[in-house]
Symmetry: C2
Subunit: 348 residues, 2 copies
């Protein structure tokens, strides 16, 4: 399972563009910290000494609208900062925004929904953010929200029935008691982040910054409700258990310790801020299980169909929606756990 | 009719990606001249004094594969030139290639067919080339093949039944005897090119170059066979004549004089080379009318369906294919007219 499955494209009822409120909340939860990073930490004068263009990249942008909101916010903070630093409105630099996602992302939808009144030049950048995407020293500000927790692949131990990391009856490392499974996920995350940080270290200018936002608990545990719907189908005899055992969601939600470890190992970035936050969530507060699950469907459908076929995928999605009551109860009980991780790095 | 209709996307039987041999021949016909422009005229040392990245843009790239062939050729010529100038293989600069087309172009297909072994960073740039797309002074080499003859819109005189420029019984300016029609097309072309040159003058660095390749006669007159199929339908009473009268292809094929005029009016570029050439054409030589018409269909289908609906569009396409004999005869007789225009400009 090395191939990647994109968020649902287009703008239909199960599309990501119509069902990304969850990611929107995560983004909103980090807004203030993104602004602070720019206003308080970014060496904008150094950056502008060599060129009058500011280059910003959003890694894992999907199809919008969140990426447009995020980038507008970044541009506004940069403009405010410039005003403070230069004390003049002349000579405002030009902004270039690079929207990155996998080659198979639906860039057509992304491009067609670009804001008309944007104050930046817009570019699409197809390719994995685990590798190089830009020339050396060309990016001033890098942003990524709800994306770096996607692993590049499922570690092969998880696919081997004879390995101690065979993930029986579960679709993720969260909720299993098998420490081998957890270790395999952690190791893959570390490898992926090593690649990501190496690439960004080349691409980001000295004094430039990168902010990374990842959902932590809220969103993640919800996925297990999908898992339990799949197990229901196994128990009813409609689905072969080995198919569930061999299915593993390619996501790892890093802790502050995980992040510190990979950043320090890379050595090119200083950690300017690292924080677990517990922003208010309307979706969680209202225990709106249905919206939450449809959001998850927009994210996972491609993956699930690939592994189980569309009939089982449809059935598992439908059954999970039927668990709304149970999910709502769970959400209420686990409210305080719905946190997210914010990291601001500066290129040394 | 201000909205634009893209080349057929995807990779189906009538897609542009499968049916662009005509444009490929035009491209191939200009290859030597593109290389000469780079080797003989480009001030590459000046360009690299400020940065180690060379930025290249292809305007009106469509979905490939021609754009990939063109860009590979440009990169190769630049590498060869660098080798001559610097006499060393160290410190090869990085290449950034920007693929531009209308927002509604099928960028998904473009991105999915990017060459795996490319030696450049690839970007998509959605938007019209009649306006700004890049920051000031950021492009070193601009390329456009078979694209700038597309007008941004049909001049409104052509849409007014009472105007002397009402284009009765014809779908283009080529072949009409109505000079008002021709003038309206010329005026629109001049307006569009003024916008294009103004934008590029801001974006291209001093000493940077732009090469423009346009098909001239070969391709263009073929479109009139479509026109006559439409008139057949009118004569049979299946189609209302006013629908044909009000349909005008938004393309103008500039002469060297047209190009000289707009470039001189703009004033920011020197004309390094301007040439009408008569490259050998396999399609024309073999009088392969069917391939030619299917190529044209890949280009025009969207436009025609929008105006006439898909039933008439299908019928007119099918009938034009039936004219293969007639088209072949015409092609043979007009072989010497199948020329194309090459222009190389340098930013002063
Ligand atoms: N290795 C990788 N390279 C580039 N994009 C990736 C990636 N792994 C995952 N992604 C992308 O990350 C996105 C996560 S969805 C989040 C989208 C957006 N940032 C928002 O907050 O709404 C998906 O579109 C997915 O395709
Ligand atoms: N104003 C404009 N801005 C950007 N692209 C344009 C344009 N007008 C036309 N085009 C694009 O120009 C392309 C012409 S087809 C030629 C494609 C390619 N250069 C080749 O040689 O094969 C189409 O994809 C069309 O969408």
């Amino acid at each position: 399972m090395t191939t990647f499955f994109p968020m649902n494209g287009g703008d239909g009822p199960y599309s990501f563009s119509k069902n990304s409120q969850l990611q929107r909340e995560v983004l909103d939860g980090a807004k203030g910290m993104v602004r602070d990073a720019i206003i308080q930490k970014l060496d904008i004068k150094i950056m502008l000494s060599s060129s009058n263009t500011i280059r910003i990249a959003d890694f894992g942008c999907s199809v919008g609208p969140n990426t447009f909101i995020a980038m507008q916010h970044v541009v506004q903070a940069l403009k405010d900062k410039l005003l403070q630093v230069t004390n003049s409105t002349n000579n405002i630099p030009e902004f270039q925004i690079f929207f990155n996602d996998h080659v198979i992302n639906d860039f057509n939808t992304l491009f067609r929904s670009l804001p008309i009144d944007r104050s930046y030049y817009a570019f699409g950048v197809p390719g994995t953010f685990h590798g190089r995407l830009f020339p050396s020293r060309s990016i001033h500000f890098a942003h990524s929200s709800c994306a770096i927790h996607w692993l590049s692949k499922i570690p092969k131990e998880l696919l081997d029935e004879k390995s101690p990391a065979w993930n029986r009856g579960s679709i993720h490392y969260i909720g299993t008691s098998n420490v081998e499974v957890v270790n395999a996920y952690v190791a893959q995350f570390e490898k992926d982040m090593e690649m990501l940080l190496n690439a960004r270290a080349e691409e980001i200018v000295e004094g430039g910054m990168m902010v990374l936002v990842t959902p932590f608990a809220s969103y993640t545990r919800l996925m297990n409700f999908f898992g339990s719907s799949l197990m229901d189908l196994v128990n009813e005899g409609t689905l072969d258990e080995s198919l569930v055992d061999s299915f593993n969601l390619p996501m790892y939600f890093p802790s502050p310790e995980d992040m510190t470890k990979v950043v320090e190992k890379n050595g090119c970035f200083s950690i300017e801020r690292m924080e677990l936050t517990y922003p208010k969530s309307k979706l969680v507060e209202e225990a709106d299980a249905k919206t939450l699950m449809i959001n998850l469907r927009a994210v996972l459908e491609g993956l699930i169909i690939n592994h189980f076929g569309s009939k089982i995928a449809e059935e598992a999605c439908a059954r999970t929606i039927l668990k709304s009551e149970e999910i709502s109860t769970w959400i209420k009980a686990n409210y305080e756990k719905s946190c997210q991780l914010f990291v601001a790095l500066k290129r040394k």
